[in-house]
């Protein structure tokens, strides 16, 4: 029958290959239930937040759920890396940011192929009643470079530290600081300009 212990050495090829392992009796159930448990915990705590983060970064609810879903699928496949659901949040956030960028890249391609829509008609989500002031702020945010927008959303909505933002975006903390600084300044300038123009 199957030997209890086997080694394999492909000495002819010069490559000894030896592999794992002694298994605890119940390892399958431990594995499955642990991944599922972590997923549920993570989903409960983070699903709405991640969809909203995607929606803010995309400035649209289209695709926000898809982006978040893909992020959760990616994280589910890597749940073995994390001891607790909390440990996985940073990685999850990075997946969302990357997913958003990928949607945006696709959008850019589509926009290049299609003529621009006449005078920016509001999408369905823009039709929601919203204070004028908010609309002005968000419109100003839209004019900023992508990296600055990402930093501002993560800082002022997700309320992350500089370090966490740096991890989510794969940039240095110094860069986060400077993007925040410039982003807020540009936002202020845009708001000042708009509100001056409105007067």
């Amino acid at each position: 029958m199957t030997p209890d212990v086997t080694t394999m050495t492909t000495s002819r090829l010069g490559a000894p290959a030896r592999w794992a392992a002694e298994w605890p009796e119940n390892w399958q159930s431990v594995a499955v239930s642990r991944a599922d448990k972590l997923l549920e915990e993570l989903y409960e705590g983070q699903w709405a937040r991640m969809v909203r983060l995607a929606a803010l970064l995309l400035r649209s609810t289209d695709h926000a759920e898809e982006v978040a879903q893909d992020a959760f699928v990616q994280i589910y496949r890597r749940l073995h890396k994390f001891a607790t659901a909390d440990d996985a949040v940073g990685y999850l956030r990075t997946c969302v940011v990357n997913g958003v960028r990928s949607v945006q890249r696709h959008r850019e391609v589509v926009q290049r192929l299609q003529p621009p829509p006449p005078a920016a008609p509001p999408g369905p989500e823009e039709l929601a009643v919203r204070a004028d002031s908010d609309r002005t702020v968000l419109a100003a945010l839209d004019t900023l470079p992508q990296r600055q927008r990402e930093v501002l959303v993560l800082r002022y909505w997700s309320e992350l530290s500089g370090k966490e933002i740096a991890e989510a975006l794969g940039i240095s903390e110094g860069a986060v600081k400077s993007h925040t600084h410039r982003g807020v300044a540009a936002l202020r300038a845009a708001l000042d300009g708009q509100e001056t123009g409105d007067e």
Binding site: T6, R18, W19, A31, S33, Y76
Partner: protein, 366 residues
């Protein structure tokens, strides 16, 4: 407005008014988004693409074997030849669902909530028969060299076929590795077969398995053929040759590499260094023992442990294999809590460059 003349830097993050307006606007905007429930869709999608089942524990066990915290040292890493270790021909084709979580057994704390278990478990005998344990799958990494990860996944037609399907359709845990130019979509195809005669294997793949939607280099194509050879032979511990067929016939893989004749593992296809450590492994503070296998000029490999800012926490060198043979290396170090990158590389003859081969793993010390 004279505000336009204001130096722009005055309105950096120390601009509470703008910051507050932004905060409020984002909050109200976010609150207007009401996400639907997609938990089941996430589970289904995750399992369809790359079942995470058991990578968890595989990692725990495999890492426990190679990485001994607290000063103990394990001997040779051995395989207990489990349920799937024999012939790979008899497993039921629909065994994939069989590995949905069985009821937790002896360890009462791990029973999944009822909702976590899709009601698809077909039978009680599924626990052991439906899972391929400790399956080595090879991925392509830096320099188009092969690297190895162990997975524990639902059985999809025996160990050899399961390993091939994983290699075609799954993804490595280590971000430095990649799948190779395989078409993920065919990983479940019934047109894939593996037959074994003695120590020799034949793998038949549909032409669609060879993904040419992105450019493939000859080096990558050759590496990917070896990836298949290493993966399928490791799955059943066969030491013979592998004949790759395309739709039952000899052919050209990616239009670049002739297949159809028996080939063996090319010892040069693997990376000069493998660290036997699960990517992202969490360990307790104390003495950390890192093991792996290597082949380097004069046998010496260098190792470094760096912090996220790039500063070096520890470094040294140790002996692995030299010339033609890969042999085990091992080193120990003591690290305070934190996240680290462990790098082991084979220096070239000058003793400096790391181009010859390297492997890196992230660890979290708690």
């Amino acid at each position: 407005m004279s505000d336009d003349q204001r130096p722009i830097t005055l309105h950096g993050p120390e601009d509470p008014e703008t910051e507050q307006r932004l905060r409020d606007a984002l909050r109200r905007e976010a609150d207007a988004v009401h996400p639907g429930n997609r938990l089941d869709a996430i589970r289904t999608q995750a399992r369809r693409g790359s079942p995470p089942v058991g990578r968890t524990v595989l990692g725990l066990v495999a890492a426990a074997l190679v990485l001994v915290v607290g000063g103990g040292v394990l001997g040779t890493v051995l395989l207990r030849n489990g349920s799937g270790g024999g012939a790979d021909t008899a497993a039921p084709a629909n065994a994939r669902t069989a590995s949905e979580p069985p009821a937790a057994s002896s360890s009462g704390s791990v029973a999944p909530p009822a909702s976590a278990t899709p009601p698809t478990t077909p039978s009680t005998s599924a626990n052991s028969a439906g899972v391929a344990t400790g399956l080595p799958v090879y991925w392509i990494g830096p320099g188009d060299k092969l690297f190895r990860e162990f997975v524990t996944v639902p059985d999809r037609g025996g160990r050899a076929l399961t390993a091939v399907r994983e290699m075609l359709g799954s993804a490595p845990a280590d971000p430095d590795y990649r799948r190779g130019p395989w078409a993920e979509s065919v990983s479940d195809s019934t047109a894939i077969s593996v037959t074994q005669r003695g120590e020799d294997l034949t793998v038949d793949l549909p032409a669609a398995a060879f993904d040419t939607s992105a450019p493939v280099s000859r080096a990558e194509a050759m590496a990917a053929v070896q990836q298949l050879v290493w993966t399928v032979t490791a799955a059943v511990q066969a030491q013979g040759s592998v004949t790759v067929l395309i739709d039952g016939k000899p052919g050209q893989a990616w239009g670049l590499v002739d297949v159809g004749a028996p080939v063996r593992r090319d010892a040069d296809a693997r990376s000069a260094v493998w660290i036997d450590l699960e990517e992202g492994r969490q360990v307790s503070t104390g003495t950390l023992t890192v093991k792996g296998t290597s082949r380097a000029f004069e046998g010496t490999v260098q190792w470094t442990v760096t912090r996220p800012d790039g500063s070096v926490a520890a470094e040294g060198h140790t002996m692995g294999g030299s010339m033609e043979t890969y042999e085990e290396f091992s080193f120990t170090t003591t690290l305070p809590a934190g996240t680290y990158l462990v790098t082991v590389f084979a220096p070239d003859m000058s003793g400096r460059a790391r181009d010859v081969g390297a492997d890196t793993k992230t660890i979290v010390v708690r």
